[in-house]
Structures are given as C-alpha cells and as structure tokens.
Symmetry: C2
Subunit: 409 residues, 2 copies
C-alpha cells in the first residue's frame, strides 16, 4: 500500500518516481491524486519526500483539492520555453522537465509511470536522458514495478471502495438476471411482451444504464458472449446476436467508480431455461476447481503455485491446459487470477512461468476465475469472484452471488 512506497523504492534502487499524464483513467496518477479533474501534469516523488503535483493554471483549484504539494507549470513559462526551443514542442517539454529536475535536485535512478501518449513522451524522455548525465530513466516491467507492488496490497479505504463497487456490480447482475428471465421464449430465443426479439446489444445498453444509475462507469465494456463467442475468453459477444435458451452465456462485468477509480471484476456463466448435459458437465468441472483451489489459497505463498494446481486439476479431468500446451486454444487457456484495484488487471499476477515471483500477500484483492473453453463445441464456462485477503490472512469474497448455471425462464 501507499505507506510501502519508500521502502519499495529503496529495494528497487530508485531515487525518484515520475508519474505522467491525467488523473483520470491513469491508475498511477489517480493513486496519488484521487479522482480530480487534472487532465495533464506530472507527479514527482523523491524517496523519503512527499510527492509534488505539477499542474496547469486552468486546473489549479482541482490540484489544490488533492492535499498534495502542488506547483503550477505556468511558473516555468512554457510559451517562452517553446520560443527558446524554436517551436519544437518535444524540445520545450524536455527543457521543462530538465528545469523541474534541477529545481528539485532530481538525480540517480528515476522510475517512469503513467498511462499516456507514448510517442511524444518517449521522445521527450529520450532527450532528457541524453542531456542529464546524472539521471537514469528507468521503465520497470508492469508486473514488477514499485507502484505495481505498492498497489498490490490495499488499505481500508481502498477495500471499502472496491467493496462498494462489488455491491453495485452484483445488484446490476441481479438486474440483468431479472431482465432476462422476465422475457418469453419464441423459436428458442428471448422476446419481450410485444414479441420483439432481445439482442446482446440491448442487454449491454441496459447494463451501462443500470451501472450509471448507481454511480459506476463501464470504460472497458462488458463481456456477454454466447455459444462460440463464450468459447473465446475475451470475445465480448456480438451486439446483433439474439439471446437463446439452452446455450452457455459467459457474462463478465468489470465496472469502476465514475471518473476512473476502483474496479470490481465478476463473471457468471448462465444457461437460460435449461443446460445441455455437455455444458452441465463442463460447468461442474469448473465449479469443482473453483471451490477446491479457493480453499487452498493461503497468504504468503507463490501465486504461480495456484495456477499450476488449477492446470493439474483440469488435466486430471481430461482438459488440455496452458501448462502442457502453452498455445492451446481449448480447455483452460488463461491465468487463474489477477489483482484488481485502480486497474481491472493489476498485480499480483498468476502466470505459471518460473520467473513469476509474485506472492499472495495479506491485503491484496484478487480475482479467482477458472474457466474452460471449447469454441468448436460452441461452449465456454467461467466463474469469477473478487476476493480480499484480509490482513490476518483469511479470505473473503467481496460480493457473494449465487452460482446457478441455469436461470429458470
């Protein structure tokens, strides 16, 4: 959590962190600023010093509302810098950063963070790196970076916010179940009282509406994938598809707080009306793995162990997995879990590769999401909850929801 940043910086031998970009939909910046309307800026954090937010004049009140130390970028006279740079914006931006680094005595290894435009920032940072010999600009792999590791464990306020998003998510999931089952069936697909067919696009529009009503936002969209689409993990579903009975629907929903805050991540697989035997069998395999591996999760153990365990269980049940065939497109084809926070996918990571050293730490929030996929059989099943590892090491599913495969019509 935030209080770990200084010692994580020491471990990584970083002297400063430079975070670039807006405060919204940019987890690295939002982590420091909270949800404020700062659309462009820098945040500089030296080790063992408080962070400083550099903002534009137009956003001075928003910057001031953060309780961070703030500094107005207009104090560096960006228009004069641009003139001095002969109208070259990249050069002018590099000069601005050089002045900031000089004024704040930034030297040594500077970690780079932020979700922002790669092109101009690559060029600017390249120039800064070339012209400041006592500064080394460091881009760490996402999975291992200081801020990823800090964000991997959450404080109470963060848990409360993710929990709130979990409540909203499961309320909307229940709304969707109620909406689907309020329909009638005609020629094997759902129709409303007027006999109008229901489409996946209409279901998704309702989801966005019901999320917005409850103060949530859905920037990454929703997976509502039927039949063959369900058999491809990230297939979002096809808007024009009708909604059939007796076919598996993978419904994966991952909204965040409005403005780009904390996420929740949740999946159920439903069959409307009835489940064919083939789907039922695959579902039971997934559910068994879900429950067995969940019970096995213990704090302060390697995350990769649970991915291996999941693969081995699925293999015993006769399914191909990424462990014995990394390129398989059938069976179990993804990781068991990932962290959830200001990004829907963040640390800890659960890849089975040997280089993955992530531990399941107390304070982390992770998904738990085994699944099986057989696109050629028009079949996919995933079950996912979001789980908090309490500081005392016990586990809690943040938003409980029934795991029925069949929704009765």
């Amino acid at each position: 959590m935030k209080s770990d940043i200084d010692h994580l910086m020491k471990d990584a031998n970083l002297d400063s962190l430079l975070v670039i970009g807006p405060a919204g939909h940019n987890p690295y910046m939002t982590y420091f600023t909270g949800l404020v309307h700062v659309t462009r800026g820098y945040l500089l954090k030296k080790r063992d010093h408080s962070p400083v937010l550099f903002h534009r004049s137009m956003e001075r009140d928003e910057a001031a509302s953060t309780d961070l130390q703030i500094k107005n970028l207009d104090d560096y006279d960006p228009i004069k810098l641009l003139e001095e740079a002969g109208g070259d914006q990249i050069q002018a931006d590099a000069m601005l950063l050089q002045r900031i680094f000089k004024e704040f005595d930034v030297r040594g290894r500077v970690g780079l963070y932020g979700k922002t435009e790669i092109g101009p920032h690559y060029a600017t940072l390249h120039l800064v790196g070339e012209t400041l010999p006592d500064v080394e600009l460091v881009g760490e792999a996402s999975s291992r970076s200081v801020l990823t590791r800090a964000r991997t464990t959450k404080d109470e306020d963060e848990i409360a916010r993710i929990r709130k998003m979990g409540e909203i998510t499961s309320t909307v999931v229940a709304d969707v179940a109620g909406f689907l089952t309020s329909h009638q069936v005609k020629d094997g697909v759902l129709v409303d009282r007027q006999g109008e067919v229901l489409t996946v696009g209409e279901v998704k529009r309702r989801i966005n509406l019901w999320l917005a009503m409850r103060g949530a936002e859905n920037p990454e969209g929703t997976i509502f994938a039927i039949g063959r689409d369900a058999g491809v993990p990230h297939s979002a579903g096809t808007d024009d598809d009708l909604v059939p009975i007796g076919k598996p629907i993978v419904f994966d929903i991952y909204p965040c707080e409005a403005g780009g805050g904390y996420f929740h991540d949740f999946t159920r697989t439903w069959c409307l009306g009835y489940a064919p035997d083939e789907v039922q069998e695959v579902y039971e395999d997934v559910l068994d793995v879900f429950e067995t591996v969940y019970k096995a999760l213990k704090p302060n153990t390697p995350c990769r162990d649970y991915q291996v365990m999941t693969c081995e269980m699925f293999e015993e049940k006769g399914h191909p997995t990424v462990l014995n065939n990394p390129k398989t497109k059938e069976g179990y084809v993804h990781s068991l879990a990932h962290g959830v926070g200001l990004a829907v996918h963040e640390g800890p990571y659960f890849s089975h590769v040997e280089s993955n050293k992530d531990q399941l730490l107390p304070g982390s929030v992770i998904t738990h999401e085994p699944g099986l996929y057989y696109p050629d059989r028009e079949l996919g099943v995933r079950i996912e909850d979001t789980v908090w590892v309490h500081p005392d090491g016990t586990l809690e599913i943040l938003a409980e929801y029934p795991k029925d495969l069949v929704l009765k019509m």
Copy 2:
C-alpha cells in the same frame, strides 16, 4: 483522414507507424480497429502497405472482426521468449518487437503512437532502438504527428458519428435544463418537491444516467461549475455544492460513444432565475466574440489568426488575455478552439504561438469556445459549440442549442 496517411508519412519521412496499446480509449489504435475488445496489442503500418494488427489468442475473434490483416502474438511464443530473456519481461518484449520488425522487414524511421503505460514501453523501445541500428524510433509532438494530422480531417462516417453524439449531448443538456427548472427555490438554492436540496453531485449523476440511456459514455466527467469554480476554466465543480439562483453556472459536457469512440464537446453558461448585471455584461461580451469570430472563420487559413483575433476583441472590450499576458488568470485565459474526434482535444490547435502552423482545413471538426473568467468576482462564462468545416468550406454547428443565459424558474 485515413486516406491521407501514406502521403503524410512521406511528408514526415516516416517509413512505418507502430501503434501500441488497447483498442478502447486509445484514439490511435481505435482509429484503425474501431471499437473492439482488443485490450493489448500492436498495430504496424508500413508506408504504402495495409496495417497489420498483432493480437493475443484470447482476442482472436475480436481482432478478426476488424477487417485488418491480423497476426497472433502467440505465434512468436512469448513464454519461450520470456525464458530466453531470463524472466526479464522488458527484454522479452523487446525480442518480440525485434522479431516482428525482422519478419515484416521494418527499417528506417518508425513513428510511435498509442496511449499506454509509459514505463515498460519506454524501456522496451529504448532497448529495441539500441539493438536495431537500421531502425530509428520517432516520437512526434502530438500537435504535429502524422496520425494527428490524418485525424484532423474527418470522413463522412466520422462526421455522422460525431453528429449523433451531438444529438445525444443536446438532448441531455435539455434534460438537465428541464430537471433544474422543475425545482423550487428556497433560501436562494434549488430544492425538490420534498424540500430536499439539490447538489452538483446529484446533477452529475443524472447526467451520467441520461448519457448511458442514450448509448454514450462520459469518461472525462462533466464540468458543472458555479460561482468561483466557474471562474477557473477546468474546475469541474464541487459535488457538495448546492445549486443557487442568480449565479453563473458553466456547464461543459463532452461525452463519447460507449467503449471509447467519438466525442462531442459543448458548453453553455446558465443563471437560474435571473442574471446579475455584472454576469449579463460579461456574457454579452463573450456572445459578441463568439458570433463575430464564428462569422470570420474561413477554411485554409491559419488557426492561430482566430486566437489572435479573439484576444484582440476581448482586449478592446477591456479584458486581459493570454496574448498580452500569457500568465493571466483573469479574462480570456485559454485557446479559442481545438479539434474533436476520437479524443476530446485533438488537432487542429488554436494556440497563438508563432510555431503553431495548424490550418483550418475543410473536413475538420472543431470546438468554438470563447470565454471570460474572473474567479475573484465568482464569475465565469463560456459558450461552446462543435463545428464541422464542410468539404466545400462552409461551416455547420453540429448540434444547435439555444444560447439563453437565464433559465426561468
């Protein structure tokens, strides 16, 4: 527009473009892919060749739905690459890009694009640049880049989508006006029939709801700024604020298509019940400048000329501006306009600096948004429409809406 990319690449002496990141909320990638659920990938476009989208296995169906040439990243065996790199993800990603560059014979100047994580990509690209001597990685300034310039002019499909967003936006603006004026006034602020006070936070929740109902998304939030907040252009307003009569409210709304598509940008300034003389006078100055400069806009002329014209008009009326004092926080403190498309702020740009060579081209979509700001007088006024410059050079406001300052209660 898209058909200009090859000759713009030639002008900029770029041999290839490399776009990095997801398809959603990443205008550079969305420009090629459309709104599909591709969360991670590369797009490579060599000059005079069709673009190729590199995707993960899990997202193969989504990638295939784009009509782009596609290539599965798993074909490069990323797990083996990671092993070869000794578990160093940055090294493995660099090796992956090196293989792609070799296979597709990428040489010369490669322009970098994409809104994505700066840290790991900076490190990866730095490594690629160091190890491939016949490749030069180029990050252009956003305002001048090939894709910014291509995106500056829109084709018919893009115009239709922005127009649709304009219709949605003005419908929601009318909803907000109706919602506000349906309230009663008690002690100078709005209350509902039960006497409950209305807050800015509640107004914003309704806006998100009404946008979602109509298939739009609001990733950047809404400005609903009252009094002193209205006097600071990017102050988004304060959620706990009550809604008073007789004070200026700057209401700036800039939603996009759900999933991260085309934006519309629109502002009105309202006084509920009545407008104090001081606000009325400032409003009339802004409206006069709005109308006069709008009539002056001509295609194929420098954008900066209109910013200078706007400053000079405001100065004649006795207001400070960024032309005579770049650091002013009072008077006219921002640019007249900007392009609108897959980003809410894109080219052409209207800064008055001499290095700004942007032209107002036929086919572009721009805002038109003069404003005046006096935070110490608790006063701000901005009027903004989104304007299409037709291919024949005539102008059209894409969503007309009344410009009354006072909303009668």
